[in-house]
Subunit: 403 residues, 2 copies
DNA sequence: TGGAGTTAATAAAAAAAATTATAAACTTGC
DNA sequence: GCAAGTTTATAATTTTTTTTATTAACTCCA
């Protein structure tokens, strides 16, 4: 069993059976229910004897277990098999500007351990990197899960990331080696990274509404604005892994200076940060809000505004509306560009769904051509606020081709 | 041999050897030079005895031929093999608003027959469709090439196309069945379609500068404005095949009404048509141009303006410059979105390369983030004006997985 | 010129996989 | 309650493929 775990971590295993074994595990992982030997063999295009052989070998290593017989209309009842969810684990970590989260998932991608630190503040310093390593290392030991059973750590981090080389360009960019190789070394576990938005896209692609769609957008609307693009059934990462910089598309109506140095970036008007700024501006120019009854203006964060909108605060609603219309226009443009079948709005703004949905839709009709728009569904993420961390964990299974 | 030709047309051939034979043919097609048996076996992951067996079978059907021995540093000299370019043919047809072109290519994608009709005018009528069918049918018989040797016809046509279903939405949209099935029936040859811009993208992907890049844009700047997107090494067609409607991205600076019914479409300011309009406007407002010496203003077409710019006409140059800057800005935005490694400018405007290149580049710096921009090359298509028709023909080989 | 080294192509042997056949487990209907 | 029909699972046989060995073709260098 130990042997197999070691082998399974090496995707380029020379033994050609490993590719087929991965296919079998991936098939079982993706299936809703346990599968039969004939069913598996048909899907992975193996004859029943060889398929049986491989499955028996997988059972011997204990990664696959028989879970009983299946009821059928007629004929002999087949045994059904599934992956033992606790054969191994993967870890998801999400590092945001404020806060770091850690979750361990079993092979069914159910969370078995969770630890957050909301006091964490991301800084591009070696002190902060050491904190991250300590946080992950301590969380692993606190979880009491055997390190040998951990397939890897998938990290979603803010900023521009090259997921293929494992380099981070905005944070922890002072290392000599890549961020992933440094982390892998320090933690003695394989580490994979991607940006926080791609991680959200992966979550939707494998566990959310984008599951059965070949072309999709997954919007990450939180404090920043990002987008994951799924085209031809695959997440588009681009030549250096920078695809999806939706926040820096020049599409804003004003000419505000963006942190990136350019003007007119969509993110300066559509993002949690922009919402806070707009709110403050409006209040200073005399607008009133229910929010001011409970909080001082300097303390108000975009989450408060989203909540206020839910509670009916007129100013909050109108600001979110305006934002929805604008992002809708931008999305409509991108619908012309890539003709997606579904757009999923994710991130913290999901809580403002009721206020946002119609304004986004109406924005989209202003820019999108009718034909591609007609067949593009707009929905809000249903896999909850923990989507990102699940996506981060899923990177590991993805890279090992177990999903 | 006849048998094999019939088999090769059926991509989903049950015989599992056909998939590997396709791989071998595709490998030989893509290679610059003839290949050796050991070389082929290594690439398609077959042992030498089985590889030899399949290659010998392909030689028996005459699709592959031995072309001599290869010079090596040491050891026995291997025989090298290539695809017999004249074993079969594919046809490319490009249907534009004005003009229809027909070319027959051999398996090396060299043109062996060509016929154009520049008097053709595309209309959405059954009369016009009948003309197209007659044109293709007559061209085939005029070429004297055996119909049995023709693998299929790939058509690139203006307008919105669903390349998977074979439906055309703007032209010939009155049929009960799909356009491809109607044409296949009438011509007794398999027919595949895509829009004129995708066809250009296919040409660049297989024969042009995008050959070795996984993420690329291919701009089709002619009378209209279109874009082919290559992401993760594949052309993105989108959910209904409408991806790449770059001309209808809302990014123009004015509010001109577009044919699509919207305002602000990029195509209203960046396209051959827009160039003609702008030229006329400028002349009417008093600007002068060398072009007016030789032609009446009502006769001037965008091709004339491109030519005039080449000859140094100040007005033409300034208009093309402005257009280049604007499309550059739009492309820069899309660079943020998809992080391509290369942008290829194709279409009739290639002739204005000298005037366009710097203005496009400077436009891009206004919108693109520096990191993705730095690694994105901008070039003009080098595969000439016949790129589109070669791409149309290549659809056939693409669909049959022979390339 | 002829042995050592190298690679290709073929032949022989061994291993692996696919068919086919058979047995087992089950439903249905007479 | 037992034959007929169905499907799974395993065993036996056949086919296919790979591995290994051998022969062939060639270079280099003493």
């Amino acid at each position: 069993m130990e042997l197999f775990l070691k082998d399974i971590r090496n995707v380029n295993n020379a033994n050609r059976h490993y590719a087929q074994k991965r296919k079998i595990i991936s098939l079982l992982n993706k299936a809703e229910n346990p599968l039969t030997i004939p069913g598996i063999c048909k899907k992975v295009k193996l004859s029943i004897p060889t398929g049986t052989k491989l499955i028996n070998e997988l059972i011997e290593t204990q990664i696959i277990v028989e879970v009983g017989k299946m009821e059928t209309e007629n004929g002999r009842r087949p045994s059904v098999y599934k992956v033992d969810p606790d054969y191994a684990y993967c870890i998801g970590v999400v590092i945001l500007l404020k806060g770091i989260s850690f979750s361990i998932f079993n092979l069914e991608m159910n969370e078995v351990y969770k630890f957050d630190n909301n006091d964490f503040i991301l800084e591009n310093t070696s002190k902060c990197l050491a904190d991250v390593i300590a946080f992950i290392g301590n969380s692993i030991s606190d979880s009491k899960i055997d390190l040998n059973k951990i397939l890897g750590v998938g990290i979603g981090i803010t900023g521009r990331i090259n997921s293929q080389t494992g380099n981070s360009y905005n944070y922890f960019n002072f290392l000599e080696s890549s961020l992933t190789s440094h982390l892998s070394e320090q933690l003695s576990v394989p580490v994979y990274i991607d940006n926080d938005t791609h991680v959200l896209g992966i979550a939707e692609q494998f566990f959310g509404e984008a599951k059965n769609v070949k072309n999709a957008f997954v919007v990450n609307l939180s404090r920043g604005l990002g987008l994951s693009i799924i085209a031809n059934g695959e997440i588009v990462i681009g030549e250096q892994g920078f695809a999806g910089e939706f926040g820096h598309i020049q599409f804003a109506e004003s000419d505000k200076l963006c942190l990136c140095g350019k003007r007119g970036c969509l993110g300066t008007e559509v993002s949690g940060y922009a919402l806070e700024q707009n709110f403050k501006e409006q209040v200073q120019s005399g607008e009133i809000s229910l929010l001011l009854n409970s909080k001082d203006i300097s303390e108000i964060q975009y989450g408060d505004i989203l909540k206020a909108a839910w509670e009916g605060d007129a100013l909050s609603i109108s600001l979110i509306h305006k934002m929805g219309f604008l992002i809708g226009k931008a999305l409509g443009n991108m619908v012309n560009f890539l003709n997606p079948g579904i757009i999923i709005i994710g991130g913290k703004f999901v809580s403002a769904k009721e206020v946002l949905i119609d304004s986004i839709k109406s924005g989209m009709t202003h820019t999108a051509l009718s034909l591609p728009l007609r067949s593009c569904e707009l929905i809000f993420s249903s896999i909850g606020t923990d989507a990102a961390i699940k996506g981060a964990g899923a990177i590991v299974l993805c890279k090992l081709q177990l999903i």
